[in-house]
Point group: none
Chain length 235, copies 2
Amino acid sequence: MAPHILIVEDEADLALMLRYNLEAEGFRVSAAASGDEAIETIQMGVPDLILLDWMLPGLSGIELCRRWRAREETARVPIIMVTARGEEEERVRGLATGADDYVVKPFSVPELVARIQALLRRVNPQLVANVLKAGDIEIDRTSHRVRRGGRDLHLGPTEYRLLEYLMRHPGRVYSREQLLDGVWGNEVYVDERTVDVHVGRLRKAINRRASETDPIRTVRGAGYAFDERFAAAVG
Amino acid sequence: MAPHILIVEDEADLALMLRYNLEAEGFRVSAAASGDEAIETIQMGVPDLILLDWMLPGLSGIELCRRWRAREETARVPIIMVTARGEEEERVRGLATGADDYVVKPFSVPELVARIQALLRRVNPQLVANVLKAGDIEIDRTSHRVRRGGRDLHLGPTEYRLLEYLMRHPGRVYSREQLLDGVWGNEVYVDERTVDVHVGRLRKAINRRASETDPIRTVRGAGYAFDERFAAAVG
DNA sequence: CCGCGCCTTCCATTCAACCGGCAGGGAAAG
DNA sequence: CTTTCCCTGCCGGTTGAATGGAAGGCGCGG
């Protein structure tokens, strides 16, 4: 399951922008426009991380932070505070109160994402693991190694990236165009059929043994997906 | 079927940029360069959302907005107005006239997309939902899977799109012509009877078991609809 | 009862995905 | 510097599924 992020932000524009970008990064996102709303939202389910605006109407960010830290359920949820430039002193008080990190508006989205990943990794490495796993297939992203049933598989660079890309969102169907954008890069000019060829090669490399099921699903007229039921089927 | 957006914009460059970006986001896009053209376009099919430039040659955005709001068919279509900086007073009048949201040029595409998603969700959550559900029938759009009572159904691409299209607006009756436009695409030229055949195939694929009720309602002389009472009847 | 409109079945055609092979390019090895 | 190997992208052909059309039968509504 994708990590769940709660955004506490009263500026609707900013909140919307954040939601959109974080969802594009694969996070699940909830949003609250005030402290009271945030508390209410958290009662419905504790998120994996909280993005907290410091300047809130009503309950302040500091107060929220303190309350969450005091409760058993939420004490370990990482909090990133969002401050406007010039609230530097707030930052000190914030870190003292228990926030784990901070960003200053305006911030870049990639930077924010990087901080989020880092915090999530610190608290729960599983959430942003460097090892993708599904059934008996395992990708180690740091060493660029792929194994199936213990055996090492030999993949070309493109096949590797393709597999990684597909495994990032098991079940999700990608069109050839999306795959070209995501795996090859948006500036390259390559024929869409080439995707077929590489999927074919990837399959040949992965399903070397007769007993092994093909984890890649072809969706006629739509594209390809890594079968989300593969893990359960092979398990 | 993907939500349909109408762009009313006289600056050709901007219109093209919008079309390109929105299509990349998976929307279907029509464009009109003037108010008259927009009215004409809408007669061919009501979009799910309208992006309306405020400064138009001929009929003004305000006037268009007013007319659409007055007509039954278009009264509920969300409208986002596009204003240039410095037309702030226009914005007030626009919201008063019935626009649902506005963006100020220059705007970021992700921001615009986020607003579009939000509006579509407000009007009809089905439009941007990941899973369409009615009774025991379920379509997962990201994984392109269709299930009934837990079992997977095998649909061809056309039947899939047809079912999705019908389920978007349960109860609404579509003529064969509308279905050809919406499911096949407006540029294709196919016999109307062919729709019958595909509805037949869809039915066969969906109602495989004897106990299963047919959710597709034939309206003699008018077309087809996904029965809005189906969900309640099946439970 | 009549006639129009819908449903079904069948068939030819088209189309999308897969396969094997090939040539260019680049990196690594000699 | 040359040779070799591997990766890559593309092409043509094959196969099986999906599609579009036609025809006949049936049922509904008048």
